[in-house]
Symmetry: C2
Subunit: 124 residues, 2 copies
DNA sequence: CCGAATCCTAAATGATACTG
DNA sequence: CAGTATCATTTAGGATTCGG
């Protein structure tokens, strides 16, 4: 009996808050990564799972279904036991935000953790 | 023994992800609202609490201390038993992002929940 | 291969009381 | 006033199993 997830959960101050609506969509534990990955290409469930090994199968399924409810991604059965996930128009419209958030974070990390070891490219 | 919160918690794919760093800062349960409020003016603890009644005193204190650790807000004792919170430079630099996220959310809400009752101004 | 259902533990949050 | 400490409850998430 759910409608859109992110809308229901963005009423913290008694009314709908667009800022929290957006954050609600992006900030599930694995959602940003999923969106990032799908920004490059459509992927099967197992491919996504390989890309995000720390996310259990159960969690991946959960996050994917929430993103579907929020109309950010769409699911298509390509063959028996094969499902492909891709961004919807709404999902694609998030790209500039994702880029902006990523840039801010990169700047912040550089300033505050300049001494981070390793050769991170610092991107999703 | 904590360093910066948001940095530690943004290593979901084994390395630092700037996108998740930013989202980690913004997406604590009450953080976005706190930041919004402080974007207009510096506020005392009790004033913030009045603005966000659904957030318990305990949670408010928690979220404020995390935002402090992340260098987004600063805390100043103005008188005995009076503390004032305001944005740091990093906090202020979030303004464009907050605006962008809010705009996207407003658009999304309009399309997906056009029939929302009431006279919401749809802003934080 | 994809994902739902179940069970169980750990983490997050609320309620309340306490203190400088 | 601005928190902290403690306890009770809720919620999130992992492990495992099952089935289309």
């Amino acid at each position: 009996m759910r409608t859109i997830n992110a809308i229901e959960s963005s009423q913290k101050h008694f009314e709908y808050c667009p800022l929290d609506t957006t954050l609600g969509i992006l900030s599930g534990k694995w959602k940003s990564i999923i969106i990032c990955r799908l920004m490059s290409a459509s992927l099967h469930f197992s491919e996504l799972h390989k890309e995000i090994p720390r996310c259990s199968k159960r969690m991946l399924a959960l996050q994917l279904s929430e993103l579907q409810e929020d109309q950010i991604i769409k699911r298509q059965v390509t063959a028996t036991f094969h499902t492909e996930y891709s961004l919807t128009a709404w999902g694609q419209s998030l790209a500039p935000l994702v880029t902006a958030l990523n840039s801010w974070g990169r700047h912040y990390l550089k300033e505050n953790a300049g001494k981070i070891a390793g050769n991170n490219n610092l991107d999703c």
